[in-house]
Amino acid sequence: MTIEKGVEIQFKNCASLTIKENGSLNAVGTTSMPVLFTGVEKTEGYWKGIFLSGSNSTNNILKYCTVEYGGCSDYDMIIVGDNGGNPARLNMDNSTIRNCKNNGLYVARNAYLDAATNCTFSGSDYPIFIHFENPNVKLDNTSTYSNNANNYIFLQGYGPASGTISISVTIRNAGIPYYLEGAINVGGNYTISTGVTMVMGPNSSIDISENGNFTATNAIFKGKEATAGYWKGIFMSDGVATINGCTMSDGGAMVSISDDVANAGMFYLWNYWAQPDLRISNTTISNITKHGISVNDAGGGSVPTVSINTGNNITPGAGGAVVHSF
């Protein structure tokens, strides 16, 4: 489907537009003649939205478009779906997604967001909803986000259909914080880019296991609430974590077993069968429950490697900056 510049399409109550596997949606407007997808009535949730269902076409382009007033039947304004293993694809720039009853843009686990450049997301719940294991989300910091109920990019962590990832994922600086619910399970390369702020949900965590290679540089990790132990922390049973220039707070509830609260840490390393390797420098850790770095070296693996390099500033809670337990 090709939509010319200047076209206005109105949707009746709970109507929708779905692009299937062999179809595509190409809507290219201009500054003076944008394309408008709107409801007959200007009410949030009036129509469903645009659903890219399995269409992987590079012809799926929204340029100088406005999409507004969707969200009927729990739809998000634009859904880039994954229809039974057929991931959809979207490229958008200079477009506006606004006033949706639910999220502005949803990108499924394996779907492709090739770009969202110079876009505006406003007046929705979360402006963008993505999954932690999706390597195909190419956000940058050229878009603006305002007046959303939750002005974060929602990052869905480990869930029933997820698991430890073994692919390379980079969380890019999108100019807006990410909000994590659940766990990021790292079994491959996972990078938190410079300038990213990770707002951690209650009991959320980052879990690094076999073949995991976690890197965070000049990033912020903080709880959604400024409460010690609000989020768990970073757990390592194997792999490598390289933390440089980060600011971390409001965590420190991470333990290996639930009743090991005396040894809780912002980082918790456990050599249950392998040898986790933490390399940390120029990083500040504060407002935590117990320890900054808690090392459980009583497991069957080699003693964990902890490289405390220069420039760290760890303020422990009711514990020590670095402790070895068991």
Partner: protein, 76 residues
């Protein structure tokens, strides 16, 4: 008999003239003046399956109204 038919017909004509401005000096109506075109002058799309199509900008206001769940499942 003619009088019995004439009066109701005249009444309907006068009523229509007052309501819809069907007079030589009355207001212009769609499509003579596009700005007067009501919403339902836009094309209503109720089914869009297995076909490709370009939606063009052919009115000054709303061009298309989507009614129901529309699927696009082919490009040519």
């Amino acid at each position: 008999m003619k009088q019995q038919i004439f009066f109701p017909a005249l009444s309907v004509l006068l009523t229509a003239s007052l309501l819809f401005g069907i007079t030589s000096c009355g207001p212009k109506t769609c499509p003579e003046d596009p700005s007067k075109c009501p919403l339902n002058e836009a094309e209503v799309i109720t089914e869009f399956i297995n076909t490709n199509r370009m939606l063009t900008n052919n009115l000054t206001g709303v061009d298309y109204i989507i009614e129901g769940d529309i699927e696009v499942s082919a490009d040519f």
